[in-house]
Symmetry: C2
Subunit: 144 residues, 2 copies
Amino acid sequence: MITNIPHFKKVLLTQGLKPTYQRLEILAYLEKYKIHPTAEMIYHALIRDIPTISKTTIYNTLNALIRKGIIHEITITGTETRYDYHGIPHHHFLCNQCGKIIDIDVECPYLAKKELGGHRIEELQGYFKGICKECLRSGHKAKV
Amino acid sequence: MITNIPHFKKVLLTQGLKPTYQRLEILAYLEKYKIHPTAEMIYHALIRDIPTISKTTIYNTLNALIRKGIIHEITITGTETRYDYHGIPHHHFLCNQCGKIIDIDVECPYLAKKELGGHRIEELQGYFKGICKECLRSGHKAKV
DNA sequence: GGTATGTTTGTAATCATTACAATTATGTTT
DNA sequence: AAACATAATTGTAATGATTACAAACATACC
Ligand SMILES: [Mn+2]
Ligand SMILES: [Mn+2]
Ligand SMILES: [Zn+2]
Ligand SMILES: [Zn+2]
């Protein structure tokens, strides 16, 4: 995998996490494939490079990265956790047809809010669901 | 349970669902206790009135009600589905401390949108997470 | 009463995730 | 470089939410 390993090493070390081979590969995967993968998807992708890697390590690492705020979890599907390595906060769109999860950069007036109705806001997730642009197009073609 | 059974009967019938005792009780529970309960919570509440009720019936009914658009599902916790019987669309807040899920009536400019970036929008979920008003207060008291 | 259809129920299966304990790797100290 | 303490990895078992399935039951219609 062609990636900026020194950079990921620094990211892990500054958060007090040891830059192990497994963690570096998981981070590299998340940075390269921004598809909001499941733990399962990461596992199947990495087992080629690291045949001994365990699914538990995937979960351990992802949970450690979340605790440190390096990645974020997305529960848009309701059936499994998706993982996102992407700096600035943004919303997401789930296509009910093809299952793709797409980043939505929306000028949400609440993304900056730290307080709402007396409650302290620490996190905001915006989930849109529907039919994506591509599926709309191919659905139209199918009808012709 | 003191509820408007005739009303729920009408709701079910107009959607082509038979108004069985179980379904009426589930709807009555959702309407009375607006706590966004889990299937488990509904099951434990109803088993007093209907000792023979099955957890499968709870899930069957909830899924039927969702398919008909009578109730909505909320996946804010990431670990289990919560169910909401509440007419108008609104956002939600999850307290990371006490676990409560609170309705948030926010003037979201995207709640009315049917299209976004070429994608067709059918649903929008807004999930805020943090510490609720009550927990903030008791946390403050505890420090004194 | 008989039949078709939809609903409920109990049990078993599935799937994502976590718990746990043994093994191994890592960074630091000698 | 060897020894040590600590943290990470691994495999397996357990958990928990949800669904699959088939039998029993209810309801309405002929
Ligand atoms: Mn994203
Ligand atoms: Mn609500
Ligand atoms: Zn699509
Ligand atoms: Zn609270």
